[in-house]
């Protein structure tokens, strides 16, 4: 989950998010290097006493400042495109879950084997237990087995919503009348929080998403319990 005065990304809980983190570090390092270099040049230009008013052109420096930026851009573009294609791969999911956005809650359907469906409302602030997170907790979490590729089919029943879990590196718009697909693998057990990411009315900020990754046995027990309850 997000921390107060957090600057960077949340810790990665899926392989895709790890790749995104590393790419962000790579690109940010390049950006810092270029900015430092430009700042140094500016300071050097402003504080030097050496001037030459008669330079007309120089082929060598023009070659350098064409070649170097082009190489830097290629070094940024290749990892970026690789991650782009990696994110689009749906590698043989073990489970398909449908996440439907409503005003103002999410509903999850696990219909691969039995008909399991439930709604997930935010826990209001006055009902929180000690230790729970304000505006992030939900009454029913979306439980998934850990280390399994999960396919999530996302749509909406009324207005636009967006299903996002930053630590899993997942965000997909929920469009009424359209079925969007995304996939993720939870690398380790844990609880991962996200919030609706498309303005959808008065309680847009109050319909969080909570994904709980558990070992497969626990997932099977949970789904049997949920089926009995509903």
């Amino acid at each position: 989950m997000a921390h107060p005065s957090q600057l960077g990304f949340q810790d990665a809980a899926s392989p895709v998010m790890e790749e995104l983190l590393h790419f962000h570090d790579h690109a940010l390092m390049i950006v810092f290097l270029i900015s430092t270099f430009v700042l140094y040049i500016i300071v050097a230009m402003v504080t030097t006493k050496l001037t030459n008013k008669f330079i007309l052109d120089s082929q060598e420096i023009e070659i350098i400042w064409t070649l170097l930026p082009a190489i830097i851009l290629i070094l940024i573009a290749l990892p970026s495109l690789r991650i782009l294609y990696l994110m689009d791969e749906i590698n043989d999911p073990h489970l398909t879950i449908k996440a439907m956005g409503h005003q103002w809650y999410w509903s999850y359907e696990y219909t691969d084997y039995e008909d399991l469906g439930f709604d997930s409302y935010m826990i209001p602030t006055q009902d929180l237990a000690p230790g729970q997170f304000r505006l992030l907790e939900a009454d029913h979490r979306m439980v998934v087995p850990v280390e399994s590729p999960i396919r999530v089919l996302i749509s909406a029943e009324d207005v636009l919503h967006s299903w996002a879990v930053p630590s899993l590196g997942v965000k997909m718009d929920a469009v009424p009348g359209r079925l969007n697909q995304t996939a993720f693998i939870a690398s380790h057990p844990g609880i991962f929080y996200g919030q609706c990411s498309e303005i959808c009315g008065a309680n847009h900020s109050f319909m969080p998403i909570v994904v709980e990754a558990v070992p497969l046995e626990h997932f099977e027990n949970w789904s049997s319990l949920m089926l009995e309850d509903t």
Partner: protein, 82 residues
């Protein structure tokens, strides 16, 4: 036109990397756009003979330009036929 460019390049060789990168970038973009137009199953050119190519997707076909971890030819078809 090309003769003029060649003459200018001889006196300003710094323009050669520029031509290479800009030309290469434009060529790659145009090639990818052509690939999207011709190979993408969402695009229909021939309304009489091939009206809805998006209905003919195979379980083993790779439609993206590049795959990092997936070998689509190794997938098995596990859906019923229509």
């Amino acid at each position: 036109m090309l003769a003029v460019v060649r003459k200018q390049l001889r006196s300003h060789p710094a323009l050669i990397p520029l031509f290479i990168f800009i030309g290469g970038g434009a060529a790659m973009s145009l090639l990818y756009l052509a690939r999207l137009g011709l190979r993408n199953p969402d695009v229909c050119w021939d309304r009489k003979n091939n009206p809805e190519p998006w209905n003919k997707l195979g379980p083993n076909d790779q439609y993206k330009f590049f795959t990092v971890n997936m070998d689509y030819s190794k997938l098995k078809k596990d859906r019923p036929d229509f």
